[in-house]
Amino acid sequence: MPPNQNQSQARPEQDEPLAPRGAVSGESTARPAPGELLRSSLRWETGLVMAVIAIVIAGAVVSPQFLTGANLFNLGLSYGEIAIMTLPMALIVISGEIDLSVASILGMSSAVLGILWSYHWPMLLIFVVVACVGALAGLLNGLLITRLGLPSLAVTIGTLALYRGIALIILGPKTISSFPVTYTNVGVNTVPGTQLTYSAGIFIVLAVIFGAVLHFTPFGRSIYAMGASPDAARFAGIRVKRVKTILFVVSGLVCALAGVLWTFRLSTAVQNNGLGLELDVVAIVLLAGVSIFGGKGTMAGVVLAVLVYTGLQNLLLLTNFNQEATGIVTGAILLASVFVPNAASFASRFSDQLRKRRGKIRPSAARAGLK
């Protein structure tokens, strides 16, 4: 139905018969793609499930501590905020953009929370202000990217510095740590009746919501469409700019929430809260099988990637591996996540290269043809 609609819309506007035909053939080749896409990403998710199982087994073998409730609680505590921030990041990357300012929004909202609390504002009002700050930060990102047409990579590197800078201006060298126990308890207590931390609980709820929106609503499907081809999405009547702006605003809001959780967990607001987390968040999203070029990835993959990432970090902790050097493992997984799916084409290209080197025919011929 949709392709026919497109065709009938395109015909009266453009006299050239080539354009609509091209569009239709584009659609028809794209037609089988969703099924194929699902299959290939499912395969990636299967790999992640196996990785999770392997980590759990290895963890249980290495240390009896691994599967205890206390350890899982600590795991949720240490990585809850990062996990929460991966959810909007996944949507943004699927839409073909990137948001490197997430950790700075976390830091800025933490600073706002801290300074307003030190001015004795009521906590509920502070929450409203922090939410507005997060949403505005995301809105600025979104407007610069969609309305001025600037590359998101450059914009969010700029706002990464800008928002962190605002946190610095607000707090300076101060540390604010006089938060009421009712709130700092989120870093101590479990969600009643479970072993989950509050941040882990929020992550699960948000993951379900984000997953439902991404996979089962027209809004979510339009994110895939614009990630795969922004022009095609625009021609199909999707409001690409509006959707992307919304995604950045949501990202800002969620990061503000992560900032609040982070502040209460450590019960301190300092200007460098969450410094450098953006790269961890991006790494998890890419590990999830989300393509950096957009249009590909699933929420299940993101949740599994969070489990793989946190599980591995924890495993390394229990094996007394230098805790700071666990980045090696993160990096290696990241490399594996781009090389393993492309292993076949990579090998063929490599052997091609070798053959070319030996034959030495094509490059020289091409050069001769140019001159």
Binding site: A154, L168, Q271, V338, R349
Partner: protein, 351 residues
């Protein structure tokens, strides 16, 4: 230094019919660079008007030395960014090279300083080669590859360093004096980096392989169809970026003198900011090494200007971020203008 990195040279061939449009684009780029220079001059003038001490020789030297490491990194990053790639691993390379090269002084007694610089260069080159191989042969996005090597190289650094650090006591005086050494009042480091910047700018401007980096950045598929060996060029860009980061690591060691496993953390984003402020398009195809170095100098000047003016250094980051956003917005406006101008010109030429 850069002669070892530059492949064979071929004379540039100006093509006839496109001279006029090229002159227009060239003029725009000159406008772009002089724009940064103008901002820099205004900044210095305002600061000097408020606080004349800012123009003291000692302070100028301080500013230059502070900016050198970032300017050096910016040259390498420019080559990579111009080819529509990005190198996020340079901060980690700086850290690894800084520690390994500085610790050579205590491992090998009386080792000559040039050897240490060469060692730093080699360490960086090895990292750059690894990045380049993965990006060009694997044809995977450089953002992902260098994000991964950012973690891996930093992790290796942390494993090697352990809980140790190199302290100034174990370094020879001649090495520690490098940041203080001057020729006619200009720091040696600044001169050396200026030479590298000039060499990089000349390479990108006048060498065939340099021009090909722009072609690749403007249109990778088009460049491939035009017979440019894209893989080889991109590989070279990453190798150069890595090698320069290795050199920057040795300079970092000489300047900060206490090296632990956190050296150079977060430099990658600062350098990319400097490059983009300096007018290099983040998606490749335009920008110069001189512009990028000026961008680094501008960001460095802001830091010291705030210090001299007595403004809290906490403003530094937000100003840098704001400048970056301003620079890319301006670039966008200029390129839209340029595009309309070029279109107008070509339509006039057709009729």
């Amino acid at each position: 230094m850069s002669t070892t990195l530059t492949p064979r040279r071929e004379p540039p061939q100006p093509s006839g019919p496109e001279v006029s449009s090229r002159r227009l684009t060239e003029r725009v780029f000159r406008v772009r660079e002089s724009g940064i220079l103008a901002v820099l001059i205004v900044f210095v003038a305002v600061t000097a008007a408020v606080q004349p001490r800012f123009l003291d020789l000692a302070n100028i030297q301080f500013v230059l030395i502070n900016a050198t490491i970032f300017a050096l990194l910016a040259v390498g990053e420019t080559m990579v960014v111009v080819s529509r790639n990005v190198d996020l691993s340079i901060g980690s390379v700086v850290g690894l090279s800084a520690y390994l090269s500085a610790s050579m002084f205590s491992h090998v007694h009386g080792i000559p300083i040039p050897v240490v610089f060469l060692a730093g260069l080699a360490i960086g080159l090895a990292c750059g080669v690894a990045n380049g191989l993965m990006v060009s042969l694997g044809r995977v996005p450089s953002l992902v590859v260098t994000l991964a090597t950012l973690y891996i190289i930093r992790g290796i650094d942390i494993l090697i360093v352990g809980g140790n650090q190199v302290v100034a006591r174990s370094l020879p005086a001649a090495f520690l004096n490098i940041p203080q050494d001057t020729i006619a009042g200009i720091p040696d480091m600044a001169i050396a980096v200026a030479i590298v910047v000039a060499a990089g700018a000349y390479y990108l401007r006048s060498f065939r392989s340099g021009r090909e980096l722009y072609a690749i950045g403007s249109n990778p598929d088009g460049a491939r169809l035009a017979g440019i060996s894209v893989g080889k060029r991109v590989f070279t860009a990453f190798a150069i970026s890595g090698a320069l980061a290795g050199l920057a690591g040795v300079l970092w060691a000489a300047q900060y003198q206490t090296i632990d496993s956190t050296a150079g953390t977060g430099y990658e984003l600062t350098v990319i900011s400097a490059v983009v402020v300096g007018g290099v398009a983040i998606f490749g195809g335009s920008g110069t090494a001189v512009g990028a170095a000026l961008g680094a100098l501008l960001l460095g000047t802001i830091t010291s200007a705030l210090y001299v003016l007595g403004i809290s250094p906490f403003w530094d980051q937000s100003i840098a971020g704001f400048l970056l956003l301003l620079a890319i917005s301006l670039d966008r406006a200029i390129s839209v203008r340029l595009l309309t101008a070029l279109r107008l010109r070509s339509s006039r030429g057709a009729t």
